[in-house]
């Protein structure tokens, strides 16, 4: 190495202004230069505000009350806004129904807002030829006024006008209906998970035009025929709140009839499997038995009684495969334990007899006298022919003269079976103009000629009515992109086309909202803006009286056919659709948190699956995690097998809503397995010519748990009890004798933070998992890294199957987070003291000390530590969601649950300011706040008056694995319990 420097070296004459730099010197120079490059030398710029925004102090959160718009239930939410951007959504404690609870879908709302696939401005379709002569579809941005004028002229020139749309809130619904009626649009509304069947049943029974609303708050016995009321049926958060309260106090007895055990079924005291589609038969038999038992006291119209008398109850029960004495026993206990509720419906019961089932359930409630008390008429409203989409789709696909106009909202390209060929009908039919209203650029939006981007509900005003209350949605931040709400586009179009309706005589959509909103008094308006919910004063109570023309006609065709095959000894395998809390019907298919969340029943994340009972899987020659192809004459999917002990034999269960959308950035990573495509009909979910074949491949599916058994140790406790809390059989748990410790007892002078998780209330709904993702900036790692078992979730729902009694399996959900052990195995092995026990009883994890040796994770008994194997990048728009109170961890760092230390510190700081100690219940961890069942308690264990220390001393309490390894966790679990009548 030669360096030119001026140096006069007399001794070395040959040198001549050059020195020979040795290798060591060179490296030392290089090292100096390189190291100096490592220094973090960034100039940081801070921008001052131009003007100080109202109600906003940088660094402090502001909470705005609004309404969740993910499903029709519309729970109240509080949106946490920091420096003008929403960072988290929490349940609103002022909502009288959800009372601060949320579900997994509701928690993920913010990811919908910051979705990287959001459409940022109106787009127009362009078809260009590439060099090889192929047509390429491109979307070119245009201005909103230009796009709307194009749509308006197309509407003017059209001869056929269609509008196909999904669920809408009240305000947009009224605008859409006015728009369609005044401009002669043919309107159809559809959403795969809807309750319009229930509304139709209620109409046929009572003549009301909304779904009934149920009140579980004082029932003694609840019977559900397929209705997943703790997951996605009607108003799940409200039901979970009420059910969990009763459950903890031992007041409710719960029967569930369904072919495949859902989360709701797993919490039932008596889960009764029956053949798929036979719920209506058992319900009718139950109705007949109840009528028989109440001989003198018949409330039903005579015509109906005569009509149902032709069915024989024993025969009905025998078709369903349920034991006769269960139904008889249930009927007699329903009469004794009042008030009682019978719920019917759900995803699994989709089929020809669904409306009949719902009608029968409403009639049973009538006989039991719960109508009027526990069932009222002020439920959710749907349009009268909601869900009737088949005839409409057929009509759209007729060959037209190119003068039709179709307005689209919803994910119809994914929801509608292949037989409707919606994805290809552009080429086949050559209709006129297709306009899509969409917030993200998905496959459905790509069908359109013009895409008009929609606001996220957190960016716009709206109103909703439910249960005699008005729920306000208010914008909590200014729109991120050039988007508008649906009502505004339609108002502009309606005004441009001079629609006759009085609705469009306003200046803009905001005026429609104001007109509606100012019907309330100024006090109520202020309350609505503050609390999100106000009473509607002038509601007239609809009394529920039976109509005279009720008729019940069960369709037996399928079961006659089924019975014949049964005689030959070759049972037909039946395919049923099921739901999943992580997906619903695919309405939120592009959210990383939900994609990465594992379904608590199948334990599968990022892809679809098919559930088979052990017996049937043996018959079909399939093993757990095999990859299979399911083919019907409508289409086919490829997915993995999940062997599920708790389901009916000869049944396949396929989840709806695991959608892979080729245009969306995240859900395109899901394997192509959209199960909507294998059903023939979007209304009845009929399956024809089912074939299931194993794909010869070395690949195996990934499930987040290897085993669901306890492997010989006592991990989980389940207690069978009488409703007065006396145990049925005294189980012999090894008494916890204080073992000898090598180390001294830890001292916790003021605080000792502790948590209690009540497994009897936990329904496995996974809202806590999503809330934790949102609060703690946990990255989404994607399908490939997930399948290596490297998901980063700090809390996860584990599933265990516990044998209770003979042939009875009970599924227990175990939310497992860091146990903050007092004798933590992770602490002594850390070579750099990055994890230690602090004086508040927390097992602290300091990221900037961690050097990534991963000893702690190896030594952790509970396997709750997560290692950052890579630097996980957040998409640019999702960075806006990150919580500024929590560090975003980099590569090579271990992380784990911190008991939401940022929330603890915030409350402690606030309390210190006011010169007091934190009050009991003032600190709420993210998982505790989200839990709709109030199964998680958190507080100071040093304070003997705090709720958490009282609950942790319960008879049911135990510390997981403590007897075996003496870790002394700070988390106490309360044993799951089920009741015996």
């Amino acid at each position: 190495m030669i360096v030119h420097i001026k140096k006069k070296d007399k001794e070395n004459k040959n040198f001549e202004g050059k020195i020979n730099l040795s290798r060591r010197d060179f490296t030392s120079f290089l090292g100096g230069f390189l190291l100096s490059g490592c220094a973090d030398s960034r100039k940081e710029i801070i921008y001052s505000h131009f003007n100080d925004p109202e109600n906003s102090i940088p660094g402090n959160s502001v909470y705005y009350a609004s309404t969740c718009s993910e499903c029709k239930a519309g729970c109240g939410i509080l949106a946490e806004v920091r420096e003008g951007r929403v960072i988290k959504v929490e349940g609103n404690p002022d909502d009288p129904f959800s009372r601060g609870g949320t579900c997994a879908l509701g928690q993920s709302t913010v990811q919908g807002l910051y979705d990287p696939n959001r459409i940022r401005e109106p787009l127009e379709r362009m078809e260009v030829q590439d060099n090889f002569g192929r047509t390429i579809v491109q979307f070119k941005p245009i201005t909103a006024s230009e796009a709307l004028s194009k749509v308006a002229t197309a509407i003017k020139n059209s001869n056929k006008r269609y509008f196909i749309c999904d669920e809408l809130d009240y305000l947009n619904q009224t605008v859409v209906e006015a728009f369609c009626s005044s401009l002669n649009f043919n309107l159809a509304q559809y959403q795969p998970f809807n309750h319009s069947d229930l509304q139709q049943a209620a109409y046929e029974v009572w003549g009301i035009d909304s779904t009934p609303s149920y009140d579980l708050s004082n029932v003694r016995i609840v019977v559900s025929f397929g209705a997943e009321f703790l997951e996605y049926w009607l108003d799940p958060v409200k039901f979970t709140k009420e059910w969990a309260y009763l459950r903890k106090n031992g007041l409710v007895y719960h029967y569930q009839f369904e072919p495949r055990c859902t989360l709701t079924g797993s919490k039932a005291d008596n889960w009764i499997p029956l053949k798929p589609g036979t719920e209506a038969f058992v319900a009718l038999a139950l109705l007949k038995i109840i009528l028989k038992l109440k001989k003198n006291n018949v409330e039903l119209p005579l015509k109906l009684i005569n009509q149902i008398s032709k069915y024989d109850e024993d025969e009905l029960i025998s078709i369903s495969g349920v034991k006769k004495d269960i139904v008889y026993g249930l009927a007699s206990s329903l009469l004794v334990n009042t008030p009682a509720l019978v719920l019917g419906g759900g995803v699994q019961a989709k089929g020809v007899n669904k409306i009949q089932l719902e009608k029968i359930c409403l009639l049973i409630n009538h006989c039991l006298g719960s109508v009027g008390q526990n069932i009222t008429a002020d439920g959710i409203k749907f349009r009268s022919n909601f869900g009737k989409v088949r005839a409409f789709l057929d009509e759209i696909q007729q060959k037209s003269d190119g003068k039709a106009i179709i307005l689209l909202k919803g994910q119809f390209a994914s929801w509608v079976p292949n037989s409707f060929a919606l994805t290809e009908f552009r080429n086949m039919v050559k209709p006129g103009l297709i306009v899509a209203f969409s917030d993200i650029l998905d496959d459905t939006a790509k069908l359109a000629d013009i895409i008009l981007p929609l606001n996220h509900p957190l960016e716009s005003f709206s109103l909703n009515f439910k249960g005699g209350k008005m729920f306000l949605s208010q914008p909590v931040m200014i729109p991120l992109y050039k988007t508008k709400p649906l009502g505004e586009y339609l108002t502009i179009l309606g005004k441009a086309l001079e629609a006759k309706s009085a609705m469009f005589k306003v200046n803009n959509f905001e005026e429609i909202f104001t007109n509606e909103f100012t019907k309330f008094s100024s006090v109520e308006i202020k309350k609505a803006l503050e609390k999100g919910v106000v009473d509607v004063v002038n509601t007239k109570k609809t009394s529920l009286t039976l109509r005279n023309d009720i008729s019940i006609n069960l369709n037996f065709d399928e079961y006659v056919k089924h019975g014949q095959k049964h005689k030959k000894g070759d049972k037909e395998v039946k395919l049923i659709p099921v739901g999943s809390v992580k997906a619903w019907d695919g309405r939120a298919h592009n959210r990383g948190w939900l994609l990465e969340l594992h379904d608590p029943i199948s334990l599968v994340c990022w892809e679809s699956w098919v559930e088979i009972s052990p017996k049937t899987s043996k018959k079909l020659g399939l093993k757990n995690r095999d990859i299979v192809a399911i083919l019907t004459n409508a289409g086919g999917i490829e997915c993995q097998v999940v062997v599920n002990k708790m389901m009916m034999d000869d049944t396949l269960a396929v989840p709806l809503g695991i959608i892979s959308d080729s245009s969306a950035s995240l859900s395109k990573l899901v394997k192509k397995s959209n199960s909507f495509k294998i059903f023939k009909d979007p209304e009845t979910y009929e399956v024809v010519n089912l074939k299931i074949t194993k794909i010869p491949t070395n690949k195996r599916g990934y499930q987040s748990q290897v085993t669901k058994s306890e492997e010989g140790r006592e991990l989980i406790r389940v207690k069978q009890m009488y409703p007065n809390f006396s145990t049925v059989d005294h189980d012999h748990h090894s008494e916890h004798h204080a073992p000898k410790d090598l180390y001294n007892q830890r001292e916790h002078p003021i605080f000792k933070w502790g948590m209690v998780v009540d497994l009897a209330a936990c329904t496995g709904c996974s809202a806590c998992v999503v809330a934790c993702y949102a609060e703690n900036n946990i990255p989404v790692v994607g399908p490939r890294i997930s399948a290596q078992g490297r998901r980063m979730s700090w809390i996860s729902i584990h599933q265990y199957e516990k044998h209770v009694g003979e042939n009875k399996v009970r599924r227990v959900w175990l939310p497992l987070m860091c146990q903050q052990c007092n004798n933590a195995p992770c602490e002594p092995v850390c070579p750099v003291y990055a994890t230690y026990h602090n004086e508040e009883g927390l097992n602290a994890m300091i990221y900037n000390r961690c050097v990534g040796t991963r000893y702690c994770a190896n030594n952790c008994v509970y396997k709750v530590r997560r290692f950052n194997w890579f630097e996980y990048e957040f998409p640019e728009s999702l960075k806006l969601q990150l919580n500024p109170d929590v560090t975003k961890r980099g590569v090579g760092v271990m992380e784990k649950c911190t008991f939401c230390i940022q929330r603890i510190n915030e409350v402690k700081s606030r309390a210190k300011k006011e010169g007091r100690l934190p009050k009991d219940g003032e600190i709420k961890t993210a998982c505790q706040q989200a839990c709709p069942a109030d199964a998680i308690y958190f507080g100071n264990l040093n304070d003997s008056t705090s709720l958490v220390s009282k609950v942790s001393n319960s008879d049911r309490g135990w510390k997981i694995l403590d007897e075996y390894v003496n870790t002394k966790p700070s988390v106490t679990y309360l044993a799951d319990m089920f009741f015996k009548v």
């Binding site: 030392s28 230069f33 220094a39 102090i57």
Partner: protein
């Protein structure tokens, strides 16, 4: 030994190169307004004779290790040569008049352009013509509706949560971390903000030195 010297020399050379010195500013001549009670020039900054061994004060002072922006004496040029000397010493403005969230929030926010203009609507001329230029700059920002891109002086290391509210409430004066800003015509970094420096003060005042107080 000389290799070590070469190493350090090359290292510090690279560091010094990045320096953004502000050698001559007309404001620098002004030191103190009469009657302003300033006790010692850098009081609160160099009052720590007992430095923790891991806190390289000496090296830090001579700017050999670490980024320039994170070292003491970092004195970047600001978009507007705002003088704390004029505003605090002469006009006796409270720190929390402009940095109004210092006792309400973890961040001591900068004043908005509009709140600067609350006074400078009226005050458009000053003692010296150079200062008038700076006021004109502010008015230009205001008229174009732009935010002022201030250069952050006291940048915190990563993975640390610092709460201004808790510290002001606990009786920690602004000068203890930021130095005598009132005496600085151009604001410079007065403390290294290294962990040993934080801990020392926490020890002296009996505040908690649990890691979870700041690192989470």
């Amino acid at each position: 030994m000389y290799r070590l010297f070469i190493f350090l020399l090359s290292f510090s050379f690279c560091q010094v190169k990045n320096f953004d010195f502000e050698f001559s500013t007309p404001l620098e001549k002004l030191d103190r307004y009469e009657g302003y009670p300033v006790v010692g020039k850098f009081k609160g900054v160099f009052n720590d004779g007992k430095a923790a061994p891991w806190d390289f004060h000496l090296i830090d002072y001579f700017r050999i290790f670490g980024a320039v922006e994170r070292a003491r004496g970092y004195k970047p040029s600001q978009p507007i040569k705002f003088s704390h000397v004029v505003h605090v010493q002469k006009l006796r403005m409270e720190c929390s008049y402009c940095h109004y969230t210092v006792d309400k929030s973890p961040f001591a926010a900068l004043p908005s352009v509009e709140s600067c203009m609350n006074c400078h609507n009226q005050v458009q001329a000053s003692e010296k013509p150079e200062w008038d230029e700076e006021i004109k700059k502010l008015i230009k920002f205001y008229e174009s509706g732009e935010q002022i891109p201030w250069v952050k002086v006291h940048v915190q290391p990563a993975y640390v949560k610092f709460n201004h509210e808790a510290h002001t409430r606990g009786g920690v004066g602004c000068h203890e971390c930021h130095g005598q800003v009132a005496e600085m015509p151009v604001v410079e970094r007065a403390s290294s903000m290294k962990m040993g420096w934080c801990i020392e003060c926490h020890r002296q005042r009996g505040a908690s030195i649990d890691c979870y107080v700041c690192h989470y």
